[in-house]
C-alpha cells in the first residue's frame, strides 16, 4: 500500500491509517452498514445535512401541498430554519420531524423539547425605528439623558462640558442650561414626587436642583471618587448613588446623610436602579456582576455572575418586574426578587453596549459604543432591527457612539445622547406594516444559551 511508504508522524496518524485499512477490509464492499455504525455516522452529520436527507425522504412520498413549501432549497442555516418554521405551520407532526433531525437517542430529550417549544413561537412584530430629529447644543459628549416623568414635556441632558441642558421634547428647543458641576455630569435623575433633579458628576459630588428655581439646593458629600450613577427610590425619600469607589450610598434627601452604604462590588459601579420592593437596589459593575441588594439587611440578596465583562448598563421594564443587563456582546434579562434568567438576547457581535432602554411595548434598545443601535423584542430576545447612527457633519467617524438613551413616557420616541455632541430623537415608522417591514430574520437556536 502506498500508505506504508510515507512517514507516519505521530500516533494520531497511525490510528487514522489503521482505521482506514480496517474500513477498506471490512465494510467497503457492504451495501448497507451495520446499524450501530449507521447511527454513528448519522450522529456525525451536521444538522443541515440531516435536514436535507429528511427533506429528500419526505418529498419523495409526500403530497403536492408539502412539495411547494419544500421546493425552496436552503443554502444556509438561517434559511433552513426559515424553511423549518414555514414548514412547521403546515405540519402538525412537527415533533417527528424534530426527533428525526435531532436524533433523540443522541441528543438530550430536554433540548429537543425546548427547541420544539422555541420553534412553535414567533416574536412580536415591532415597527422599525428611524431618525426624526437631531439636536445640537452641547460642547461635549452627551453622557446622560432623563425625561420629565410627570408631563413628558421636556427632557434633560448632561454632558462632558459640565453643563446640563433642558430641552423641549416637542420642539427640540433649549429651555435652560444648568451649570454647577466642575466635571462631566455622568447621570441625572428627575423625581416624579418632588420638584427635584439630582445630578452626579465625576467631580465626586451629588447635587440636588430645585426645578422651580433652577438652583442647587443641596449637595451630598461623601463619595471618595467620581460618581457615575444616581437613582431615586420610587416610594421613599432616598436616592442611591454609586461610582468609581465601588460602593452604593443611599442618601436621605432632606438631611443629606448617607444613611446606608452598600459594600460588596469589587470594581467601579456603572449603574444602579431602585425598585419599590426588595431588591430595592439593583447595581451593575465593572467586576462583571449584577447585584440585587437587600437594603434593610445591608447586603447582597443575589449575585448574577453570568456576564463575562463589565456590565455597563441595566434597565428596568416599565410594565413588569424584570431587569435587563448588558455587557459586551451579551444582553440578558432577569426576573426580579429571585433573579432567575429570563432571556438571552440575540446580541452576539454587537460589541460594547453603553446603554439600555425598555419601553412599555416590549422594545429593548441597546446603544453600542461603535454607534450601532439595535432593537430587540423583549419577550423573545429577537433582534429585529440594527442600524448605525450617522455622525454629525464635522465629527470624526470614531465619534459615532451612543452613550445614553431613554424612551419618553409614551414609549414612542427614543432619545439618545451621542459622542458627536448631538442628541438624536428616533421614532417608529408609522407607515410600516408587518408585511412591508418584516425586520431581521427570526432565527431561533439554542445556542442563545451562552456560558
Amino acid at each position: 500500500m502506498d500508505g506504508n511508504d510515507h512517514k507516519v508522524e505521530n500516533l494520531g496518524d497511525v490510528d487514522k491509517f489503521y482505521s482506514r485499512i480496517r474500513w477498506n477490509n471490512q465494510f467497503s464492499y457492504m451495501a448497507t452498514l451495520p446499524p450501530h455504525l449507521q447511527s454513528e455516522m448519522e450522529g456525525q452529520k451536521s444538522l443541515l445535512m440531516r435536514y436535507d436527507t429528511y427533506r429528500k425522504e419526505s418529498s419523495s412520498f409526500s403530497g403536492e401541498g408539502k412539495k411547494v413549501t419544500l421546493q425552496h432549497v436552503p443554502t444556509d442555516f438561517s434559511e433552513a430554519s426559515q424553511a423549518v418554521i414555514s414548514k412547521k405551520e403546515h405540519d402538525t407532526h412537527a415533533s417527528a420531524f424534530v426527533n428525526k433531525i435531532f436524533q433523540p437517542e443522541v441528543a438530550e430529550e430536554l433540548i429537543v423539547n425546548r427547541y420544539e417549544k422555541l420553534l412553535s413561537q414567533r416574536p412580536e412584530w415591532h415597527a422599525p425605528w428611524k431618525l426624526s430629529r437631531v439636536i445640537n447644543g452641547h460642547l461635549g459628549w452627551v453622557r446622560c439623558v432623563a425625561i420629565d416623568p410627570v408631563d413628558n414635556e421636556w427632557f434633560i441632558t448632561g454632558s462632558n462640558d459640565t453643563t446640563m441642558k433642558v430641552w423641549d421634547l416637542a420642539t427640540g428647543k433649549l429651555k435652560t442650561t444648568l451649570a454647577g458641576h466642575v466635571m462631566t455630569v455622568r447621570d441625572v435623575a428627575v423625581s416624579d414626587r418632588h420638584p427635584y433633579l439630582f445630578s452626579v458628576s465625576e467631580d465626586k459630588t451629588v447635587k440636588c436642583w430645585d426645578l422651580e428655581k433652577n438652583q442647587i439646593i443641596r449637595d451630598y458629600y461623601g463619595h471618595l471618587s467620581g460618581v457615575r450613577t444616581v437613582s431615586i427610590h420610587p416610594t421613599l425619600d432616598l436616592i442611591a448613588t454609586a461610582g468609581r469607589d465601588s460602593v452604593i450610598k443611599l442618601w436621605d434627601m432632606r438631611t443629606r446623610i448617607p444613611v446606608i452604604t452598600l459594600v460588596g462590588h469589587k470594581g467601579p459601579i456603572n449603574q444602579v436602579q431602585c425598585t419599590p420592593v426588595d431588591p430595592q437596589v439593583v447595581s451593575s459593575s465593572t467586576d462583571a456582576t449584577v447585584r440585587l441588594w437587600d437594603v434593610v439587611a445591608g447586603k447582597t440578596m443575589k449575585v448574577l455572575t453570568h456576564h463575562k465583562r463589565s456590565v455597563r448598563a441595566t434597565a428596568l421594564h416599565p410594565k413588569e418586574f424584570s431587569v435587563a443587563s448588558a455587557c459586551t456582546d451579551d444582553i440578558r434579562s432577569w426576573g426580579l426578587a429571585e433573579g432567575p434568567l429570563l432571556t438571552n438576547f440575540e446580541s452576539e457581535k454587537t460589541g460594547i453596549i453603553n446603554t439600555l432602554s425598555i419601553n412599555q411595548d416590549d422594545v429593548l434598545f441597546a446603544g453600542g459604543d461603535n454607534g450601532v443601535l439595535s432593537f430587540y423584542d423583549y419577550k423573545s430576545g429577537h433582534k429585529y432591527q440594527s442600524l448605525a447612527t450617522r455622525e454629525m457633519v464635522g465629527s470624526l467617524e470614531g465619534e459615532r457612539s451612543v452613550l445614553c438613551s431613554t424612551f419618553d413616557k409614551t414609549g414612542l420616541r427614543l432619545i439618545t445622547g451621542e459622542a458627536d455632541k448631538s442628541i438624536k430623537i428616533w421614532k417608529q415608522d408609522e407607515t410600516a406594516t408587518k408585511e412591508s417591514e418584516p425586520g431581521l430574520a427570526w432565527n431561533p437556536n439554542l445556542s442563545a444559551k451562552r456560558f
Binding site: 471618595l224 446623610i257 444613611v259 455572575t305 453570568h306
Partner: protein, 379 residues
Amino acid sequence: MFSNRLPPPKHSQGRVSTALSSDRVEPAILTDQIAKNVKLDDFIPKRQSNFELSVPLPTKAEIQECTARTKSYIQRLVNAKLANSNNRASSRYVTETHQAPANLLLNNSHHIEVVSKQMDPLLPRFVGKKARKVVAPTENDEVVPVLHMDGSNDRGEADPNEWKIPAAVSNWKNPNGYTVALERRVGKALDNENNTINDGFMKLSEALENADKKARQEIRSKMELKRLAMEQEMLAKESKLKELSQRARYHNGTPQTGAIVKPKKQTSTVARLKELAYSQGRDVSEKVILGAAKRSEQPDLQYDSRFFTRGANASAKRHEDQVYDNPLFVQQDIESIYKTNYEKLDEAVNVKSEGASGSHGPIQFTKAESDDKSDNYGA
C-alpha cells in the same frame, strides 16, 4: 494584572488572571459546597420555552409593606446619625481617675467632656490623606459561583494576531545606531503580495512626466516666438534709423532755408547755472551758485582707541584679583601690529641664508639631456 494577550513575564510564577471577577471567587466553583448550588436551571432562560411568561409588578400591598419596613429602618438610622453629629447632649462624660503627677497641683479626679469634632461639610474630607479611590470589599461576604466561562475564548482565532505587538523597533529613535531592516521598520507587512508596487504608481509617474514634457515644450515655443518678435522689432528700428541717417546725410548737402540759426549767447557760468536751476524749477540759493557756500572744515580728529574700550568695559564686573582693567602695554602692541619689525626680519633672513641653500627656494627646472634616445611612448 497582566493582559492575557501578552506573553506572561518570565519572573511571574502565578497563573495569569483572565476573568474580570476577582481571583478569590474563581477557584471556589471547584469546591463541592459551591458546585452543589449550581443547577442547570441557572443557565436555561425561562422565557425561551414560553414567551408569555408573566413576571408581574409587585402589588400595592407588597409595596406598602416594604416601604413601611424600610422607612422605619431608615428613620431610625437617620435619627441616630443626626443625634451623633449635632447634638451635644450625646457627648460622653468621662471621669478621669488616673493618678496625676505630684508636681501638678490638680484634683485627683476631674471631668473631661468628650465631644465629637464638628466638621465642615463643605470642606473636602480627605485633605492630606491619600484618597482611596476604591473601597475594598468586605472579607466576610459569601463566595459566589461564577456562571460564565473564562473570558479568553470569546474572540475568534484571527484576533490575537491583531493584538500582537511587533518587536519594539522605533521608527523615530535609534540611539544605539542599529541598522534596522526596512521591512521591520515598516511594521508588520507580513504578506508579500501587498508589497508589490501598484500599477497606478507607474501610470501616475508616466502621466506626470508627459505633463512636464508638454509644459516645457510650450514654454520653449513661447520663448521662441517672443525672441522672433524682438528680432523683428530690432530690425525695424535699425532700418528706421538707417533711413533717418540717410535722410540727414541727404539734407546736409542742402541746408534748410526756412530755419534761422540763432548765434549762441556768450553767458557766464553763474547765469547759466541760474537759468538751469530756473528751468528745472529748483530753488538754488545764490551762495551755492557763486560757490560761496563751502563745506565746513572738519578737524582731523584722532581718538585713542582706549577711550572706547574703556567706556565699553567700564561697567563690566571684574575679578577682585584683577587690579588693572587692561594690560599695561596694550597700546604698544596695537601700534606694532602693522609696523615692520626690522630686527626680526633681518634675523629671519639671516637664518634662511645660513640654512641649506636650494632647499627653500623655488623649484628650478633643468633641461633634459637624453634627447637622442628614441621616444618610448611615441607612435
